[in-house]
Each structure stands twice: as structure tokens, then as C-alpha cells.
């Protein structure tokens, strides 16, 4: 019950008691309550005229880092006897120090500051506005107003440093890099030996072969190293995500994507990214630190979503990727994805799949027992079959149990695979 109504009720009761008993004492008891209400009415706030500024320092941070929010309010209207400022803090933001709300008096032209320190994991956090509750000194007539004061902070995902990631795409670009081109040319790595042709530089003559075949001359060929175009594809479909005891599977994928993009860009490659889930979020391919920043910002915004169209990989416009380029798909994979990946392979794309293991991630959620054991075995067999189909198509698979750090998994698996192919 509102306090005004309660006081009103008491006044009514006393007045009626006075009238019923014809005794003025009851009415006298009601008089101080009238005065109390009257003083509250005199004091009640009018329209608030405030200038509010919010500053977030810094504007973007990495996951787990702290940032500060400063709110400054200046009163340009009438005297505010009691005002409560409440900054609307987005969910999943941990407040470490200070408070987003403040109760104070705000005289005319007076100003007040409010500061608090927050921390968050990956995401884009929007601050919608500030809620103000002004009231008289008795708190009888509160007036609530909401000021729209939109701000945002981008919390980038954690980037794990990977050692050199070795990939062997079929097509490379013309700029020098670290990826062997599978063609002879100017370079330092040995590629092969062929018969000498006039015009070949004499310093490339292979004397050992010439000694074995008298009368013939041979030239040593080298393999140039170039940069490549790499497309990272992050599976953000709702059904690919699992919430487990160790957080969300999608968060692990985001972290892996960030680590890979960082590693590829560091080696001078041209890297693009596509997040597909509720919609397609393209980060067009590019080089360098700016591109790294773009990818991290896109990853910070990434959320899982559902879409009738992008529920299956077949609706992805693969023609957007350069022909025979390197695609790195980060997804736990579904059975329906297999034919699509095989088709991509047939188009000439080099596909690497980094597949976090949803079974291992999820198994702790269920009670132990025979049924669970059987279910696990069946699920693993099914997954094994899926992997064998993909391997037969020449798709490089990197199974990943997310409890193992990504740098350990990727480093080992890709290096081994590359050596095998060489």
C-alpha cells in the first residue's frame, strides 16, 4: 500500500471516529497528519531538467579486463531534495567497485558524479539509459523519469597465442609469406631437380646430379613461400551450441577463431571471417592489425542464433570465397553438413575443420549409468563415421576436446598433417 494512501486512511478513520463520537480530540489527532501530507506536497518534485553525461574508459577492452564508467549529472532545473540515480547496467557485467546507483540531494546548478568499475567476458554491452527517481523529503510523492543515454562497450574475446600454424593451400597470392606454394620459383626450400635449360642461372646448377650423369646438366629448383587467402567460418547456429559445466561450447569456438585469426594475420596472410547463425556476419578479407581488430570486434559481437535459411551450410554463398582458397571451419559439425563439405572440397577449396567434441563436453551433464555408457558409445561411433566420411573426401579434421588448450591441439594436429602431405 502506498504511504500516501495509508496516511489518507488514518485521516479518514480519525475523522470518522471524531464525527461518530462527536469528539474533537479525534479530529485533533488527524491534524498533524494533514500537515505531514501538506509538507510533502509542498516539497514534491516538478519536472526534472538534468544534463547527464556518461563516459566509459576505455571504449573497448579484452575479456576479463576492467573498465570504468563515469556518470555526471548537472541540475538545470529546480532544487531536487532527494534524487536517486540508477544507471542501467547491462546483464552479465560484474561490478567490482563502486555502485551504479546513488541517492543524493541536487541543488540548482549542482552536479554530482557517479563512478563504478566493471568487468565482463566477451560481448557487446549496451547501456540504455539512466533512471531517476526524485521525491520529496518524506518519500511520499516520487517522480520517476528515464533518460535515454545510449552507450556501448565492446569486450573482445581472449586471444591465445598460437605458435606458427602450418597450412598448405593450393592457391597462394603473389606476396611473399610463409606458405609453400607447391610450385618452383625463387625461394630457399628445395623443390626438385630438372634438366638444365639455357638461361638458368649457373649458381643453381646441381653438380652432384651432373656428376652422376656425365654429359648432362641439372638445375636445382626452389619452392617460393607466399601468403594465402584464408577464410575462417564460425558456426553460430543455436543447435551447435551446448551449455555445459565448463561454460558454452560457442565461447570455446570464438576463442579458437580469435587465436587462429591472430596467428594467420601474424604470418601476413589475408584473412576473412564469416559467422553464420541467425544471419551472416561477414568480415571481408584483409591484412594486418586493422583486420585483426575488425575480426576481434566481430567476434565480440558474435552470438548464437537460429535461422530457417542458415540452419544448413548448403545455403552459404560459397562463390564469395576466392576459388580454391583455404577455408577453416570451426564447428562441432552435424550429419547434414557432411555432403556440403564434400561438395566444397569438390569445388577445389581446401577445408580444415576444427571440431570441438560435443560429446565429451556434454557427458558430465548426465548421470552415470549403463544407459549413459551405451549412449556415449553410440554417439562416438556415429561421430567416428562422420569423421571418416570427411577424411575420405580429403578434409583435414582437427578433433578438439575443449578442456585441452587450443594452441596445443592446433599446433600438434596441423603440423603433423602438413608434414604428412609434404
Amino acid at each position: 500500500m502506498s504511504r500516501v494512501v495509508f496516511i489518507g486512511l488514518l485521516i479518514y478513520l480519525l475523522v470518522f471516529a471524531g464525527l461518530a463520537t462527536l469528539r474533537g480530540e479525534f479530529l485533533a489527532m488527524a491534524i498533524p497528519l494533514f500537515f505531514y501530507l501538506a509538507f510533502g506536497l509542498i516539497d514534491r518534485p516538478g519536472t526534472m531538467q538534468l544534463e547527464i553525461h556518461r563516459e566509459i574508459v576505455p571504449k573497448w577492452v579484452n575479456s576479463g579486463e576492467t573498465f570504468q564508467i563515469h556518470l555526471n549529472v548537472t541540475n538545470r532545473g529546480q532544487d531536487l531534495k532527494e534524487i536517486s540515480l540508477q544507471d542501467s547496467v547491462p546483464m552479465n557485467l560484474d561490478i567490482l567497485e563502486g555502485s551504479p546507483s546513488l541517492l543524493c540531494e541536487l541543488p540548482i546548478q549542482g552536479s554530482i558524479g557517479l563512478s563504478y568499475t566493471c568487468r565482463a567476458t566477451r560481448g557487446l554491452f549496451l547501456f540504455p539509459g539512466v533512471r531517476l527517481i526524485s521525491s520529496d523529503r518524506f518519500g511520499l510523492f516520487p517522480r520517476t523519469e528515464s533518460y535515454s543515454l545510449k552507450d556501448r562497450i565492446l569486450v573482445r574475446p581472449e586471444v591465445r597465442r598460437l605458435k606458427r600454424v602450418i597450412i598448405r593451400p593450393r592457391i597462394t597470392r603473389i606476396y611473399a609469406g610463409n606458405i609453400p606454394t607447391r610450385q618452383s620459383g625463387s625461394g630457399v626450400d628445395f623443390y626438385g631437380v630438372r634438366s638444365y635449360q639455357s638461361g638458368d642461372p649457373l649458381r643453381y646448377l646441381n653438380w652432384k646430379s651432373a656428376a652422376r650423369h656425365p654429359g648432362l646438366l641439372f638445375t636445382t629448383e626452389f619452392e617460393p613461400e607466399r601468403v594465402a587467402v584464408i577464410w575462417l567460418m564460425l558456426d553460430a547456429r543455436q543447435r551447435s551450441n551446448i551449455q555445459g559445466p565448463g561454460g558454452s561450447l560457442f565461447e570455446h569456438l570464438v576463442s579458437a577463431t580469435a587465436a587462429l585469426s591472430h596467428a594467420f594475420l601474424n604470418e601476413g596472410n589475408r584473412v576473412g571471417m564469416l559467422i553464420y547463425g541467425g544471419f551472416l556476419d561477414w568480415t571481408y578479407s584483409g591484412y594486418g592489425k586493422m583486420q585483426r581488430e575488425r575480426i576481434l570486434q566481430a567476434l565480440a559481437r558474435a552470438r548464437t542464433g537460429e535461422s530457417m535459411i542458415f540452419d544448413k551450410l548448403e545455403h552459404l554463398p560459397t562463390q564469395a570465397f576466392p576459388p580454391r582458397s583455404q577455408i577453416v571451419l570451426l564447428s562441432p559439425l552435424h550429419h547434414e553438413d557432411v555432403p556440403i563439405l564434400i561438395r566444397w572440397r569438390s569445388f577445389g577449396y581446401d577445408v580444415i575443420c576444427i571440431c570441438p567434441d560435443p560429446i565429451a563436453f556434454e557427458q558430465d551433464l548426465f548421470p552415470q549409468g549403463e544407459d549413459q555408457e551405451l549412449g556415449l558409445r553410440l554417439a562416438r561411433l556415429e561421430r567416428k563415421l562422420l569423421f571418416s566420411q570427411l577424411r575420405q573426401a580429403g578434409i583435414q579434421l582437427i578433433p578438439w576436446i575443449v578442456s585441452i588448450p587450443i594452441e596445443q591441439v592446433i599446433g600438434g594436429a596441423l603440423n603433423r598433417a602438413s608434414f604428412r602431405r609434404v
Partner: protein
């Protein structure tokens, strides 16, 4: 914390004044019942249940009305009633201060609040005492008209408050 202590002190003072009046008139059971009020008040200061102070204020209102009906001293009843009302107001004020996660100039807000509530209720008490000492003979119909006017006035006041909120 200070307002909480003041609130408890006011509740205690109010109960003592009222209990003393009832005791003098020989109502021992009611006296004991009244003395329970500050105990409940003290317990509730720790619990923070919002409806308990209002209920206790309502009980005190009823008890002081009964006291007036039983011809107990008007000033004692009025004083007890006012002090319990101050206790109720301070209790709500301390709740508001606690609910706010941080307060800027808490002492100043507290001081202004206490001054304002004391001004309002002292003035009310003064006017009440004056009205008790001025006797005007009114016939029944004048009282009826005045009461209707009073009810209408309060209704208008509430309507005005609602309009100002919108």
C-alpha cells in the same frame, strides 16, 4: 543506523507514554500489550519487513483512539501518537537510505529530513493543541456539511497527487 536508533527510541517513548496512561487507568493487560510494540519494532529493525511498522502504527492509532474514548489525558495520547508517527517515518527513511547502494551526503540528507518532519509535525501538534482549546458550538448539520467538505477535499487532494505523478 542513527535514524534506526532514533526510530526505535521514538517507538519506545511512544509506547511508554501510552502504557503509562493505560496503567494509571488500571488497564494492566493493555499496558503489557502496548509494551510489546517497541519489542516488535526493535526486532523488525533487523528483519526489515515493511508492513510491520505500518501495522504497528495502525495499532497505536486504534489504541490512542480507545484511550481518548476512555477519557484519558488528550495531550498524552496526542503526544504518544505523534512520536509513534515520527518513528514510522524514520523507519521508512532508514529503509530508503539502506536500499540505496550508495548515498552522497548522507548526514545532510538525514539532518534535512529530521528537520522537515519535526517542522511538519510540531506545527501540526501546535494547531491540534490550539483547536482543542477553542470550543465552537456546531449543530449536527453543520458538522455533516463540514465532514462532506472534508471528504471532498481529501478526494481532490488525492486526485491532484495522481495527476502530478502522471
Amino acid at each position: 543506523m542513527r535514524t534506526k536508533i532514533m526510530s526505535l527510541a521514538c517507538a519506545f517513548l511512544s509506547a511508554v507514554v501510552m502504557a503509562w496512561s493505560y496503567f494509571r487507568f488500571g488497564y494492566l493487560f493493555i499496558t503489557l500489550g502496548i509494551l510489546i510494540v517497541p519489542i516488535i519494532w526493535a526486532v523488525n529493525l533487523r528483519l526489515g519487513v515493511q508492513w510491520i511498522p505500518s501495522s504497528l502504527l495502525f495499532v497505536i492509532c486504534i489504541v490512542s483512539s480507545v484511550g481518548l474514548f476512555l477519557d484519558m489525558p488528550v495531550l498524552w495520547m496526542l503526544l504518544s501518537w505523534l512520536v509513534s508517527f515520527i518513528a514510522w517515518d524514520l523507519n521508512h527513511f532508514s529503509y530508503r537510505m539502506e536500499r540505496a547502494q550508495s548515498v552522497d551526503g548522507a548526514d545532510q540528507i538525514e539532518r534535512h529530513h529530521i528537520l522537515w518532519v519535526l517542522s511538519a509535525l510540531s506545527l501540526g501538534f501546535l494547531v491540534a493543541v490550539i483547536t482543542l482549546n477553542i470550543k465552537v458550538a456546531l449543530n449536527f448539520w453543520v458538522i455533516v456539511v463540514l465532514s462532506i467538505l472534508l471528504v471532498w477535499g481529501i478526494g481532490q487532494g488525492i486526485r491532484m497527487v495522481k495527476a502530478s505523478r502522471l
